[in-house]
Subunit: 346 residues, 2 copies
């Protein structure tokens, strides 16, 4: 039995392209004691993979999590699949699990690194609301952002997975929620499906700050940012005293040579308004994942927290789906579902 996998063929120069990845195949791995063999079904396509495709970011030591992936090595992030063989007492064949299985058809996980998905929810939820995106939204908004009832929360790239979940959690917690997105259709979805009070199309609004000010005349308490430098520069002058900025992602900055980035402006606002900016790395909160997952599951089970899924079918679609993340074409949680006929060689 063959196991197909995507490896890094070349480092992206600017926006990632499908040619940066190469399809290879090898044997299906064998689980050791304490491990499980998982047959992937939903493969995650995540912007967070982008920094790991680059050369070292600043030429100096970085954390292991941000080490660049070597050329020729397997790429990917978290996936959801079905246990095929278990050598761990906590898992049985047929269980749905999620873990960092990466872009391959079959993968092996240590039991401690796998998480069983609740059978009452669709398994793809494990890559959205109950996955790293949901956890990032949860801890970013509530811990780093410390969003309080009655405050105004602005989410950038709000139609994205993390953004839409962060906005919904903020609304559930009694905040007034605003978002930015790149199409009128995404803005409509934010307002009509996700409970945002207002949404701004950053592509068509000539003056982003003015449009946001119109929607939030009293300013912004929490900025949950997924986009990066240029948009945060525009929003800083709208931040209220003691406002918090959560740096969750910088999708507009990834792959741009540092000297071409605009630089963060209006930083005097940090002093005049006593702002706090903090960078989010969700795995720092791993000890609290069970508590968060319990609350997220409750909301998801009650239909209060959803995530728009954008699912393509066919393992070989992974590189193209990933490249689309950076052009604003996708909307919501991007997943690739493995086509069973394809896997069986039909």
């Amino acid at each position: 039995m063959e196991n197909r996998r995507f490896v890094l063929a070349s480092r992206p120069d600017g926006l990632p392209r499908p040619e940066n990845f190469r399809l290879e195949s090898g044997p299906v791995p064998t689980p050791a004691d304490g491990q499980i063999l998982v047959r992937n079904v939903y493969l995650g396509v995540d912007p967070g993979l982008r920094p790991a495709l680059a050369d070292a970011h600043t030429g100096d030591e970085v954390d292991d999590e941000f080490e660049p992936i070597p050329l020729g090595e397997l790429v990917g992030y978290f996936d959801a699949g079905i246990v095929e063989r278990s050598r761990h007492p906590g898992f049985a064949p047929g269980d749905w699990v999620t873990g960092m299985l990466k872009w391959q058809e079959y993968g092996v996980l240590d039991g401690a690194a796998a998480r069983k998905l609740p059978p009452e929810l669709p398994p793809s939820t494990g890559l959205g609301v109950l996955g790293i995106p949901g956890l990032s939204a949860y801890f970013g908004l509530l811990e780093l952002g410390a969003a309080q009832k009655g405050e105004t929360v602005l989410v950038t790239s709000a139609a994205g997975t993390v953004g839409s979940i962060a906005g919904q959690i903020a609304a559930l917690r009694g905040c007034r929620v605003l978002g930015t997105a790149g199409t009128d259709e995404k803005c409509r979805r934010l307002r009509e499906e996700f409970g945002f009070a207002a949404a701004v199309n950053y592509r068509t609004e000539k003056n982003l700050a003015a449009a946001i000010r119109l929607a939030a005349p009293e300013g912004v308490d929490v900025l949950f940012d997924n986009v990066g430098t240029r948009m945060v520069s525009d929003i800083l002058p709208l931040m209220r005293p003691f406002g918090r900025i959560v740096a969750c992602g910088q999708i507009a900055d990834y792959g741009v040579p540092p000297e071409q980035l605009p630089g963060l402006r209006n930083t005097n606002r940090f002093i005049t308004h006593r702002l706090t900016l903090r960078g989010l790395f969700v795995h720092d909160f791993a000890e609290s994942f069970p508590r968060a997952l319990a609350e997220l599951s409750e909301w998801a089970g009650a239909g209060l927290l959803r995530c728009h899924e954008d699912i393509e079918t066919g393992f070989e679609r992974l590189p193209a789906a990933f490249a689309q993340l950076f052009t604003g074409e996708n909307a919501g949680r991007k997943l690739v579902k493995i086509d069973e006929r394809d896997r069986d060689g039909h």
Copy 2:
């Protein structure tokens, strides 16, 4: 009896110049019930006055503390002087006090807005170690920066009042302290008089980041910044995981048109290294001032915490002394002492 005072004559265009201020004179004010009349002796010359001389910073609502001073109005900040008349039970003639008396020879303070200075220390200490600079250093370093024993602390503009005090407190708390300053003489003073482990001359070092890295090969845990955008951009790649940046001042940015500021670069470091940036406004900690002043007084009394004073004599020197703050010519706490002969009309 005349009371001379400086008012704002024009808003600085770029660096402040002495001509931006105008000498006027009027009657000595009369204290109401609960107030005291103070004869100023040491007048403070503070970079923190600069933002209040500008037009509204961003064209939108700001806190009262940062409202621009109207043209023709009295300017200044905290001073130290002697009580001449008291209509408050807590003060008697002859007491040394500090308060926001501004650039005038005589001023009136509410009792609650005046602070008596400890008689065992020189009264000018009330404008340095025991004044707003000392309190800014204390709360910036220990509360916002949360500097811990054994950590590496980098202070920019470290030969300045706040910077030198922050560095000494960090050393007293068991941190390894590095600083930047603009002359070799200031760097020598940081090492030999203020207990800094290393000091970097930012004017003569071609590559600031490389020079700091040489002094701190393992990186920086706390950056106490008094300078602003460009220098922080250079230092960000040196910050260690979970590092804290205290934005205390932006002396290099004041008066520069926003579109000419370089913009903060290397902001990806916030996410990869989970950094926190917070703006300091010391008056937010007013409730804790007594506790801080007790500790600062103890250190100052024991000779463990000092501040280099740069004192000019003559009330009329105030505008020129203020302008010098922005050219790097001064070193340490800039004060103007009122010449008694001058005040008496000799």
